[in-house]
Symmetry: C2
Subunit: 353 residues, 2 copies
């Protein structure tokens, strides 16, 4: 997608180097970070330089490919297994991460011989990134049909192109509708504790010239009450076989409000986000992150430089679950590259067959 007129993906591989937009520095600075080896890429996933289910998946695939490129021939498969173990441990919830590691690792293993394994790993990682971008594009085409001219969409966190390889999941339908000439406006909840809505979604939408308004997370209920939301579209970190969805903390609250106010709520995600091994959302592991994310807020000081402020008393404890699970019963449907489907076992089984 466009940044100051130029086209970018959120993460890509150049030779043996992973390059990515540093998402911790937006919207204040646009910086491309270079990750020379798989431990650097794994750390970038862990510390959220790269974040968002699809981008994490692509980066994890590239990281395994980096491991293949650098592992010595003598201990090649042990080294790849060890790299895969570390990469898997960076973030527990996003399904795309595990999917990508599995895919790249298994094609390398199937190649048998080291030189071919290296080549297969790189090709598979690249193919996964391309597939993520293509899925996001298709999600946008399908999802755009839901957006009439003038539609007011509520999203949550950032499920835009920064969170995928390109196009986005939840925001892709909006970008498509806009390119088809329809005006769509977007409500952007801040999405504390890391404020990816205010920081990343607002920035993305501004770059693409989409009308949007930032609100505090506390104001979301009021938007529904004032009948200012026509449609909700959010992303997903993992979708269970029954259609339950793990997504950024706060999604469940929005789903509850949408349901009560009879506003349609869609989850946009590629099929790679569906984990058929999770029967329901109850078995999806929910990451707890550092309480410092709640106690501190990072942004730009008045001189534009990065700065962090503490908002809470030092001695107060906090609790910071990064995701919650929205039951399928609260969802209108899933927007996938295979079309818009109901969030239920039968539809998921059919589409995953």
């Amino acid at each position: 997608m466009r940044v100051s007129g130029q086209s970018y993906r959120s993460v890509w591989l150049e030779g043996a180097v992973v390059k990515a937009i540093d998402q911790r520095r937006l919207p204040h600075e646009f910086v491309i970070t270079e990750l020379p080896d798989w431990p650097a890429t794994a750390e970038a996933i862990r510390n959220m330089t790269i974040r968002g289910a699809g981008a994490i998946g692509a980066a994890a695939g590239f990281a395994v490919a980096q491991a293949a490129l650098t592992a010595s021939a003598s201990e090649f498969f042990q080294a790849m297994d060890e790299a895969a173990r570390v990469i898997r441990a960076t973030r527990p919830t996003a399904r795309d991460l595990f999917y990508a590691v599995e895919q790249v690792l298994s094609t390398a293993q199937r190649a048998g011989e080291v030189a071919r394994a290296r080549q297969s790993a790189v090709e598979t990682a690249q193919a996964l990134a391309d597939a993520n971008a293509a899925a996001a594009e298709a999600i946008g085409r399908h999802g755009a049909e839901l957006l009439r001219d003038g539609a007011r969409v509520l999203t949550h966190c950032n499920a835009g192109w920064l969170a995928m390889v390109d196009w986005g999941s939840a925001l892709s339908p909006i970008y498509h509708a806009r390119r088809q000439g329809r005006q769509v406006s977007v409500w952007v909840p801040e999405t504390r504790p890391r404020s990816q809505g205010a920081k990343l979604t607002a920035w993305e939408l501004a770059q693409e010239g989409v009308t949007h308004t930032i609100v505090a997370d506390t104001a979301v209920g009021s938007l529904f009450q004032r009948q200012q939301v026509d449609l909700v579209i959010v992303g997903a970190d993992r979708i269970a076989a029954n259609g339950d969805v793990a997504n950024k903390i706060g999604t469940y609250t929005i789903a509850t409000l949408a349901h009560l106010h009879r506003v349609p709520m869609y989850v946009a995600a590629p099929l790679s986000t569906i984990d058929v091994d999770c029967a329901t959302g109850q078995t999806i592991p929910i990451e707890e992150r550092s309480v410092e994310e709640v106690m501190l807020v990072s942004g730009a000081a008045s001189d534009g430089r990065p700065a962090t402020v503490r908002i809470a008393p030092e001695q107060s404890p906090a609790f910071n679950p990064a995701f919650d699970v929205t039951p399928a019963s609260l969802l209108t449907g899933l927007i996938t590259e295979a079309g818009i489907i109901p969030a239920d076992s039968a539809a998921i089984q059919t589409v995953m067959a």
Copy 2:
């Protein structure tokens, strides 16, 4: 209540000077601000040095008394009317503000003669502040009966003693239960955009030794889902004749979640917060505040000094309603100084008679 072992009220009158805890500087600094005249006190209400329905009410009453003390005898009642007009315009939603201005102004007017009017104004303002503290104490006694040992209470924003003259509204039952020897723990949502939960409620509870945990506003749904909330108690800025409640933005969302999860939800407020002239919540004016509150976050830098960071892109618009309205149908009851009553017209009519 206690601050480092000493007893304080949130706002008080000493001679012609209003003194108040500067709530914009907590939890990082404990500072008493001195407001020498009514324009200074009005400005302190407007800029939220003094905030919270009860504290605003008391401060507004003191401000009118300050006007009485300084107005020249020749244009006494015109000057008081003008002061009352400015003080009323500081914050549109909190009922206690209008109530206090009305009470102090009318006793002064009834006094007829300037010297007696001055004395009446000061006495009435002091009596209103004392009545607010006494109501808060009674709210705590009644509300404490709802709290069994081990109860996990969710609150919102700050409806503690800082928001009243003393004791608090929503937090008073917790302080009472604790003094009666019961352990109560409190979930404290940050309450963006001004983060009064993380800043003020956490600080208050820490001072009183009450177990508490700060969460991002987005995590509230997850707490209900995990069945970690036994009871919700929040404050109120204005209560309509039918029991609808205007309170800090985000209260409606919490009420929706509590209702869906069958968790009792109470609003704690003195009777002075009830506005029988508002038939329903729909007629309560909702203050919209500066979008800078959404775009910026203030706190303490790593050296402890006050600092502010911008989180969102400069060019992105925002929307910042300060309050929302919770329909009476979502509430279990109102905790008042006259006891716990249903949130409905009949009960309110009886108690206001």
